[in-house]
Symmetry: none
Subunit: 193 residues, 4 copies
């Protein structure tokens, strides 16, 4: 009985949950990360403000989840290609999502909030960075192992450079996150100059 109740409640909550994430993404699309107040998102989702606060401690936490959902479809290409090529294609796909959805906007906002909010800093660090950087590290390690990358010794360093370059670009000129930038970033990180 309890389990059944819980299930039903969960199901209902899940629908709300999704509509809130959608509303958050839409709001970021329409008015940008910063102007997307909790109030606006709640209204958009046809939900009470409290319902949002019940599940996420802050706007940043909500948007972290929204961001993850938006980029969840971007995966690293298979090992049939060179490391350099795989990374390039991955970044191109990622940037495509950034510009076609509000994901770029959201990531920029989250990066901005890290500066001021310790909680957000930790959350982004553990909930986003680690996980994303491991996606990059794997192909680089494979490239080192295959001898493709003669100059690279530490895969973490290279992944770090890629992420750092993307973040900086997001802050300075987000619309320039294009194919050309993807290639430059990968080459710079892997020592192809």
């Amino acid at each position: 009985m309890v389990a059944e109740n819980e299930a039903r409640t969960r199901r209902r909550s899940a629908a709300k949950h999704k509509s809130i994430l959608d509303a958050a993404a839409l709001a970021a699309s329409n008015v940008g990360y910063d102007a997307s107040t909790i109030e606006l998102i709640a209204a958009q989702a046809e939900v009470g403000k409290q319902t949002i606060y019940r599940w996420w401690p802050s706007k940043a936490a909500l948007y972290l989840e929204t961001y993850k959902q938006l980029v969840s479809g971007v995966t690293m290409p298979s090992t049939d290609h060179s490391c350099r090529h795989r990374l390039q294609r991955f970044l191109v796909a990622l940037f495509s999502v950034y510009s076609h959805t509000s994901a770029g906007n959201i990531l920029g906002g989250l990066i901005g909030e890290m500066a001021s909010n310790l909680e957000v800093r930790k959350t982004v660090q553990s909930g986003l960075l680690l996980e994303r950087s491991s996606i990059l590290i794997d192909p680089i390690r494979a490239g080192i192992a295959s001898g493709e990358l003669g100059n690279v010794i530490r895969a973490e360093e290279s992944a770090d450079i890629i992420i750092a370059l993307i973040w900086k670009q997001l802050l300075i000129e987000p619309q320039a996150l294009n194919t050309r930038f993807a290639k430059r970033a990968v080459d710079a990180a892997l020592g192809y100059q």
Copy 2:
């Protein structure tokens, strides 16, 4: 440029100007960039709020100037040394200022504001980035010319990497901006892996 400045700063009180910058730096030290409200800075500087708004369009603009003043003493070492060494020593000196003054705190705050504020983005880009990155580019160009840096072709790329790594570190773990990090960043940017 001088004439333009003179026109814009007509009759501005130099003493107030300084006391406001000092108060801003002090406030960032005491309570951090974000909690440093204009009201607090004005009170600290014993100045009316309007006196700040008269000369700076935003908190970010005020802190950009404060930041520049704080790091103005950090200069690139002379050409007696290798490029790698010069960059390392420069960064070590810079990070020392970051941790001993509120400069690191402020730069983090500014980077955070870039995400949300187009005006700040432009200002930081033109008022900080260009000028700082040229400081880095010069020694790298010298290193390329002297044959010290065999692998590096484009100095701008390397300077970009250094700045990107610093920014990312400021956002994630500012207190880790130390000598070790300086060496790693320079080596990563110059292809010494």
Copy 3:
């Protein structure tokens, strides 16, 4: 009218409402109408500034309601007496409230704001003047009907004179609104010279 009120005051806290009116009256007592800032009243009522702005469009609107509440206990004496006597007693009671509460102070302030603020002008006109003048007109009409007031033809004119004399006195020398003044005003308005 009740339904309309109910719609507009949906979920308004009666306790806050009262505490705000009380705080406004107290503030006017302590520091006068003009120095009673919204901020001060809010602090006095232990209420956020926005809670006041949510329900009243301006300080004048708030004080109009405060005034009405303060004078709501002053009523026209019964018809057992002559018109002249009734009006006199009514004014004496009114002036007593003026001097024992902040009502006089407030009315003076409202009159002052009428000069500068079109909105206030309308509000005072419809919300105060019409309703108060009808209180005066009734006994005068009764006096005309009973033959007591041979010289008076238009009751509105007499009521007008009484109100005008009170307003002018409030502006010039509020502390002189006493029994003697009440008698003079009534006699002047009714043609007993």
Copy 4:
């Protein structure tokens, strides 16, 4: 030499003085009494703010003088006519000035300021009211003496009523200060009902 200097200063001052009064009247015409800030008047008069503060302690004092200048041309008609007629013609002329210049606007503003400012209250009382009411009292006294006004005993009372009615009308509906109102006010004050 001193005398010559003084004369020159005085002459210069007199010109400024006039230009300030003109600017004040113009500003009241254009934007109303309340929005006529000292800054605006100073700019309009091509004069420093301080120059105004040197001669007048407050905006009200400045406008009191401006008002007097504007209505200085309105005088009581000669004794060839009845008291009632003289007063009526005087008021009609006064109201004409009110509507054709900013005098009405200004008087309304001054009345409004009386409520809040003790200094203004005194100034208007002594500098305006006494002097104006004596203008009204004279013809009423003459009317009483000639037997024209059988019902009127105290001239001051009647003058008071006229002024009170005008003030109230200025606050409530200034544009209704017309010939009809002049007649009604005079008749009400003199007991012609």
